[in-house]
Amino acid sequence: MSPAPAVAIEGVSKVFNEGTTGQVEALGEIDLVVQPGEFISLIGPSGCGKSTLLRLIGNLLDPSKGQVTVAGKPANQARLDREYGMVFQQATLYEWRSVTRNVQLPLEIMGRDKSEREQRADTMLELVRLTEFKHHFPWQLSGGMQQRVAIARALSFEPSILLMDEPFGALDEMTRERMQAEVLDIWSKTGTTVVFVTHSIPEAVFLSTRVVVMSPRPGKIADVIEIDLPQPRSEDTREADRFYEKLTEVREALRGVETP
């Protein structure tokens, strides 16, 4: 028997402010299955509901209709079982906590003892190459470094699925490409399933095993594009002809969904 899919979304729709004049149909009839170890990107114009879909997977929102199953259980149970690591566009570090204590926060909540927390935080900070900054406070770090702390924190408790909402959207292009390579490296080392929301076509193509193209009002899945570029990906990947073909394919799919 094959293992349960990492994420199974069946007939999910989301309406905000239902039954009021401010009613917005954010998502309509979404079906999507993500296999364990996949790297999925959600891409689409503003208002296509990609962040909403991510929050539905992470059980930060409840669907109006349909079902979200994660690692074989309802999304709510998955959240209570700490299956999710979340990373947002803003690093959202707790400014009163040092770098290492930010990384330890989820472990604190899970009731792990101090020595284990510290050890785990050290391992994670090594993974994101921030060991010498462990006692710094968030304000002493650059935007890219803060985001690496956020990633270390999200992975500290070994969640089975990493949800990232435009994590590099606020970074400059150079930092962004470096962070992409770093995330791929972490992904290959940890085997975590990743669902990644982005505005950037090259980012989606470079990172993903599949790109989900979404259309707005209400948010729907317009196309799913398999990215069969060889693994592991490197800076050379960005210059391969196949990479450009895939860029074009995603771009054309997006052009098809643009609203008049």
Binding site: T92, W96, R97, L105, I109, M110, H135, W139, F157
Partner: protein, 267 residues
């Protein structure tokens, strides 16, 4: 610890010299102004006259200042402890917040000092509790309102993160809401130090123990002893400043990570 480097002596001089110069120049100008224009001593005494009076009256004004500061600090502690406790209950039960906040904001906007004669009547005119209760009420409202704000105005993503860790409401309160509220709390406490000294002295103007600074000021003023009154005001403002600095020190110790503190440290 990666604490910011201590500023060098040169930097410290650069920062404080302008203020010191302005202070000295201000005192000199005051002195000169009174002498040159022949201002009557009961209207505005010379600073040098105030200084000699302060020395002469030292054994009276300093104990009086301490008496009044104990009222101010006692009321401050009562008001802020109560303010924080009520704010914490509003975080736990939103009903309390919805029911209480409109009144809190309304009462905060009324001149509570006007209750001083009534408190004198309740507690007895020489009972320090009469003054402390005024101070406590005046400090309570800004502390409570700011604390509630700090507990509620948490970035939504910080809450979502805690949800993704499946945290309990108690953990969310202790690990996110309370630390988030600290800067709000301390800005209210710092305002509270000044308010409490004002409230203690002004409520003494309505009558009270002869050991109190406010009584001393109003009596000396009624006798046209303005140099004495000014010497007492000097004590009051000095105590107010020390009180403020004490709370600022606690603030630095409690939240060294906060921007209001690192800016001071960094410039």
């Amino acid at each position: 610890m990666a604490a910011p480097a201590r500023p060098s002596l040169g930097v410290i001089t650069k920062r404080y010299v302008p203020a010191a110069l302005i202070f000295v120049a201000g005192i000199a100008l005051w002195e000169l102004f009174v002498v040159v224009f022949g201002i009557k001593g009961f209207l505005l005494p010379r600073p040098s006259r105030i200084a000699t009076t302060f020395v002469a009256e030292f054994t009276v004004v300093v104990p009086a200042g301490w008496f009044t500061m104990r009222e101010a600090m006692g009321g401050f502690v009562m008001g802020s402890v109560f303010g924080v406790l009520i704010a914490l209950t509003t975080a736990r039960w939103t009903v309390v917040k919805d029911g209480l906040m409109p009144f809190a904001i309304a009462v905060n906007a009324t001149p509570i000092i006007a209750l001083a004669p009534i408190m004198n009547n309740w507690f007895g005119i020489t009972n320090p509790m009469a003054k402390m209760s005024i101070v406590a009420v005046i400090v309570f409202f800004p502390v409570m309102i700011n604390m509630v704000r700090g507990l509620t105005e948490v970035e939504s993503r910080q809450i979502e993160l805690m949800q993704s860790y499946a945290s309990t409401p108690r953990e969310l309160l202790l690990k996110v809401r309370v630390p988030n509220a600290l800067p709000y709390l301390f800005s209210a406490l710092k305002v509270g130090t000044t308010l409490s000294v004002i409230a203690a002295i002004v409520s003494e103007y309505f009558g009270g123990s002869r050991d109190a600074l406010g009584i001393y000021i109003s009596q000396q003023a009624s006798l046209f002893h303005f140099a004495e009154a000014w010497a007492a005001i000097l004590v009051a403002s000095f105590s107010g400043i020390v009180f403020y600095l004490l709370v600022s020190l606690v603030e630095r110790a409690v939240m060294p990570w906060h921007s209001s503190i690192r800016n001071v440290a960094g410039t």
